[in-house]
Symmetry: C2
Subunit: 316 residues, 2 copies
């Protein structure tokens, strides 16, 4: 039983049939109609030490990253992050650790104008959980909206965070290595881009499990096929320098933790989206298209079955 | 450094100075002005296996209790629980455990009309975190509102959950013992009472750390003294039968996990509150009064210093 069956069997029945739940379980966040045309987006994410980050990761980076990962979920729905609660489980009160951790979290929250409004601190194995509420106007960005003929785009560059994992523990890093490490420790949530996609993108997800795995979520939810042009994947010079092209392509397709947005728009909206992205100085790249059918495949002549095999991040 | 210093030093600075945060960190829940006169209440609570419940506790009871504990926080603010996210960390996918756990959680959510709208399932040591959003109209019930001369009341009976801890692992339970166990496994969140107190109670808290410890939170937040009449504590016949009067009084004052509401009202509102409670068939008892000064004390002639000593539940 994978995470998706688990959610379907055990948790979905707990969502009562309220007409005010515009989007329930099964997307990056839930969307609730509050009053008038205003909705709130709610998302939660847990990072467990030893599973989602190394035990000895710099506390400031743990704090920043926890915040960014959750903000990214709100961004993927097209919302503006506003309020958060922190459920922090720590083995003991280590003031130095807490001070650095909260510095990191405070930094990312203040960058995005998000307020910590409550929380719970408990004793136990190190686990960081945040729940965020965002505000939004208009229809949210769902996983399930891909239309046949849509163009598939991604923000930023892919695979950098996965590249950084190879470097953890290294003492001496090149400039490229430092760049990758920053991409892992301080992912940039694409809030402005997400908001500007509302009403223009047909579907959207943030890349946490890896490009192919997350496109599979779009494909499954939308019941469409997604064709990826492997030659068009945006890869940073730093990643190329540090791991070479072969591995860079592997990391860009199957590495997780990028927190870029992958989204699909009808061909008539591509120009608008490109213009808006340029205004935000946000790199975006066309990487494929939506077709009739199911699953995620590479463009003809780009058969790389081993990447598709490797792309299914298993939570258990 | 205790939990309160920790929150004050590290987490409060992360609450930006928004005028829409009506109540930030430091109460049972946060209250956010959304639109018009409507507010939302947000609260989060984590239960760690081996800390907040025994590893071998029945999964259904873990599910029910996790929901009830969080709903109780919303009740203590005067809100109506509406939506929840579940962040569940489990060591492995055990379908039987998950099925029973989700049955328990579903039961309490459907009793209170609360929808699970999202969540995150991660691999790691068993930890259950819920974040709830409630809706409310009017001023929330804060810890900080005690007024000199207020009457102090509590709902239900006290100490039952603590009494149940003595019985865990017993094979044969008396009727009284079964009642206590049910009080521990399925605490009743006082949502209807909380909502009816809005505009009438000056301060409110739910009893999770123990009566005296939680009254101390009211006393500290309100900068008033709270005088408890130890002879008036509501104690169930079951608790008296199972542990005797001496220990029953100890458990009623210092045992946690009751999830009853403790609240203060001006003398002129006591009749109203009693009437409303009777309509809800909700037992409430006058147990003390608010005076000038600070701290929690017993009524003259009831000196029981050892109980006050024992009342400070330490989270670390």
């Amino acid at each position: 039983m994978n995470e998706f069956d688990l959610v379907k069997n055990f948790f979905e029945p707990m969502c009562l049939k309220n007409t005010d739940v515009l989007q329930g379980i099964g997307d990056d966040g839930a969307v609730i109609k509050w009053l008038g045309t205003s909705s709130l987006v709610m998302a939660t994410d847990t990072l467990v030490a030893g599973v989602h980050f190394p035990h000895d990761m710099a506390p400031e980076a743990i704090g920043y990253r926890s915040g960014a990962v959750n903000i990214s979920d709100i961004a993927a729905m097209g919302g503006l992050p506003k309020y958060a609660t922190l459920a922090l489980t720590i083995p003991r009160v280590d003031e130095k650790w807490l001070s650095q951790f909260s510095n990191g979290l405070r930094q990312v929250f203040s960058e995005f104008g998000c307020s910590l409004v409550g929380g719970d601190t408990t004793k136990g194995p190190l686990t960081v959980n945040l729940t965020l509420i965002g505000a939004m106007e208009g229809p949210c960005l769902r996983r399930s909206g891909c239309e046949q003929g849509d163009v598939v785009l991604v923000s930023g560059t892919l695979g950098d965070a996965r590249g950084a994992l190879d470097l953890l523990g290294s003492n001496k890093l090149s400039e490229g290595g430092k760049y990758l490490l920053k991409r892992f420790q301080k992912p940039e949530a694409r809030v402005a881009l997400g908001i500007s996609l509302v009403g223009y993108a047909n579907a959207c997800i943030d890349i946490s499990d890896g490009l192919l795995a997350d496109l599979k979520h779009l494909s499954d939810a939308s019941e469409k096929a997604i064709i990826v042009d492997i030659d068009k994947l945006p890869i940073s010079d730093a990643l190329l320098e540090v791991v070479g092209r072969e591995r860079a392509v592997e990391y860009a397709t199957t590495g997780g933790d990028d927190y870029e947005l992958a989204f699909t728009v009808s061909p008539s909206n591509v120009d608008y989206v490109m213009r808006v992205a340029a205004q935000h100085e946000q790199r975006i790249s066309v990487i494929g298209e939506v077709q009739k059918g199911s699953g995620v495949r590479f463009k003809k002549g780009q058969e790389r079955g081993e990447l598709l095999e490797a792309s299914g991040y298993r939570h258990f």
